[in-house]
Symmetry: C2
Subunit: 221 residues, 2 copies
Amino acid sequence: MKKYLDLLKKVSLFANINQNDFEAMLKCLGAFQKKYDSGNIIILKGSEVDSIGIILKGTIQIVREDLMGNKTIVSEFGEGEIFGETFACAGVKKSLVTVVAASDTEVLYIKFKKVLNTCSSMCKFHMQLIENMLMLIAKKNLYLMNKIELLSCRSIREKLTLYFENQVERVGKTKFEIPFSREELADFLSINRSAMSRELCKMRDEGIIRFDHNRFEFLGG
Amino acid sequence: MKKYLDLLKKVSLFANINQNDFEAMLKCLGAFQKKYDSGNIIILKGSEVDSIGIILKGTIQIVREDLMGNKTIVSEFGEGEIFGETFACAGVKKSLVTVVAASDTEVLYIKFKKVLNTCSSMCKFHMQLIENMLMLIAKKNLYLMNKIELLSCRSIREKLTLYFENQVERVGKTKFEIPFSREELADFLSINRSAMSRELCKMRDEGIIRFDHNRFEFLGG
DNA sequence: AAAAGTAAGTTGCAATTGCAACGGGGAGAT
DNA sequence: ATCTCCCCGTTGCAATTGCAACTTACTTTT
């Protein structure tokens, strides 16, 4: 475990907790480690989940299986990221998704109940832990709400415009860089890449935006 | 306040808290009431928010304003529902949205910090309150994640199919009722009503679904 | 009973979007 | 330098979708 201390420092769930307390805290939380070979199943859809997972090594995939057995990768998480917290906190007993190891993986588990039930010795980090968890989920919430607004737009033009407005608001300038390639952006907005490219160029020709690779300027419509 | 006790019992934030404790709890939390006339602004975008609002009477609207000043009603909440909890928990200092009273409204406010900081007397309801809050936000999270999956579908057919699959999974039967009119469903899925109607009938003709008003049967594709 | 209103299916048409294939330019490899 | 790969703009075409207008069936109002 000690070799992962540097990683744990960066885990948002442990923010503002003194790293000298980590060892005591993990013990108090009944944390335990598990290893998975690449391709192995970490959580099977329908199985019980009562723990939050912190990825110490490797990458995992959240996989959705529909009634017909079709599988879709919903998301992917890497080292230092956590998974299962939403289900755990929502009181969902059985996992709605399958989690798979995308590479050789090590996971640190914490029983959700132990996070909530402040132990008898009232470890000082407990309240901080709960606050972190609350903030973590609430921030994810904000992100999701924002994404829904984007996806609810009825046309490619609207989606792009809202996305650019968000970026302008975020950085406080009309010039900004985006963290996506064209293909990734199209995927993020759930649209076709070439149709998006067409629209981007139309917007440029109309004087609404300027761009060069990842650098954009939003001049407004 | 007493006249609202029946309402407070039903507020999810106060689940599993003995209603005899309500009065003490509200006092401990420093709760206070405010009234708003219809049309008045409850929270202005950009203003500070450090409280969670519980609607005692009336209806409020969450309004989004973009850079150009265009306003969109994002959602509406009624009696017994709460708002502002996501911003408060995410540690967002300034509100990203405007909140307006859609009718004459009374709101009960609770300072977010008082929810987290268990008071010196360690009121017994505090942990329950935090747990409720966590569950509330996590459940909203699940809902949002699900909605994103729906909205990410690339065609009307896909959206409808996923929606129906979700319903089947939810009730455990292939027959179910939906809580929407056609127009509301189209709105929920961010698609055109008549195009959706066309697709629904196609699916019926292909033997994938049957329906009569709100009652649907999903036979699978 | 007539009138008015509402929800939802229908349809023709236009606009948007997806798809597939191609082309140019730049980065990195050999 | 040449080749290869990848990213992304371009384009023609087909499919999907949105839009608007109309119909039908039902419900509510007067």
